[in-house]
Amino acid sequence: MFKSVEELVRTATERGIPISEVMIEQEVHVRRSTREEVVGMMERNLEVMEEAVARALEGVTSVTGLTGNDAVLMTDYIRSGKSLAGDLILDAVAKAIGTNEVNAAMGRICATPTAGSAGVVPGTLFAVKERLEMDRDAMVRYLFTSGAFGFVVANNASISGAAGGCQAEVGSATGMAAAAIVEAAGGTPEQSATAFAIALKNMLGLVCDPVAGLVEVPCVKRNAMGGANAIVAADMALAGITSRIPCDEVISAMHEIGQMMPTALKETARGGLANTPTARRLERNIFGEKENVQK
């Protein structure tokens, strides 16, 4: 099993195969399974992602009413032709938001790498697939490439908000998406690693401070910005811009920052946005006074 991004990139480069292929081969080996079975499993995950986005675009609201229907708003805005950031980026934003709106509503999603950060990878995938003329096979590969980078982060740092803050969740997802976009666009494995590094560097220090402890505010919008960040980071790497700090060291830095981060900012809803007057008021409205006393 590959233990670092450096090892992953070296294997892919030396053998002249994409990172997605290294991941597929390892999975076949670990599972003692066949290529067809492993690829088939990923295809089913892709279908769940598509269903989630489709549901979001019909409009969905969470039980608390804190989140919902923003994917619809953004899609309508794109259609109006007045957007500033560019339709592809905003399409990723809309679909990332949509996935997390379905998640917040206790709908069915595929964690990538977590549920709170489930919007970034599919959001970007569905936004770039037409521009990059991706067929079904390429879309499944996108998920394996994302997974390969997430695999290194999960084993060398953390993908848990409670252990490492939001940087470990949306930060990891953003890097994973950036790396996968690069491969889908025909970039090298090295450029994928660069895109990951650039993306994660800009998510370092991001705390996990969910209002009322719910995976809604600010999680949904952080997925939106993660999607935008991933596309820009991929473009930077494809332009030939490199990262002075190697990818594996960025991951180590994220881990270190996560360990130094106070518990109040790691999915306990005690600090940050969760501790603002408005958040506390929303919390009382949702759970009543009693719940608040326990905190």
């Binding site: 990923m42 595929c110 999960a154 402890g213 759970f287």
Partner: protein
Amino acid sequence: MKYRSVFDIIGPVMVGPSSSHTAGAARIGLMAGKLFGRTPRLAHITFYGSFADTYRGHGTDVAIVGGIMGFDTFDLRIPQALDIAKERGIEVVFETSDALTDHPNTARVHLEDEDGTFEIVGISIGGGTIEITELNGFPLKLSGGGPALVVLHHDRFGAIAAVTGILARHELNIGHMEVSRHEKGKQALMAIEIDEHLSKDVLAEIERLPQIERVAIFGE
């Protein structure tokens, strides 16, 4: 390495909103329910750390109870699990504790009925992946380097030889093994890490041994 599969990262398919607090909790519940092996009368669940602070907002409570009843992470009945538990006659008690634990997402699940009690401690380490750290008071220290066979058995001569004998016959190599017991002649636990994939047949064969109470595979 804690994570061994790409589907730990791209996956699981699950009911929201949190992979660690919802899907992970469901998996801790599933493991407890499977090992208990029947519908409990009482499920007493203690949450620690981040679980204790945010379990209601994350649906940790419904997920863990759903898991105890056998609902997998993607089961759309999870949001209604507390009502379903009531219908099935399971009394559910939640407790939050501010005791310090090694991992912020820790849950203790205590199940009981007329015939006995069972308890596990599970941690949800991120992305829906879990580890069981304690089982009926026995601390479990698994390296996570491969699948582990966990066997609850009567502390009697021949139990260990019978289990390892079956493994040998199926040409399964043991990487690491720990045996523990509370009291001589009472319940004991074997935790055996194996290099190869374990088939259901092997598991069933071990389960049929006279000294064996319960068998489960972790980390697969």
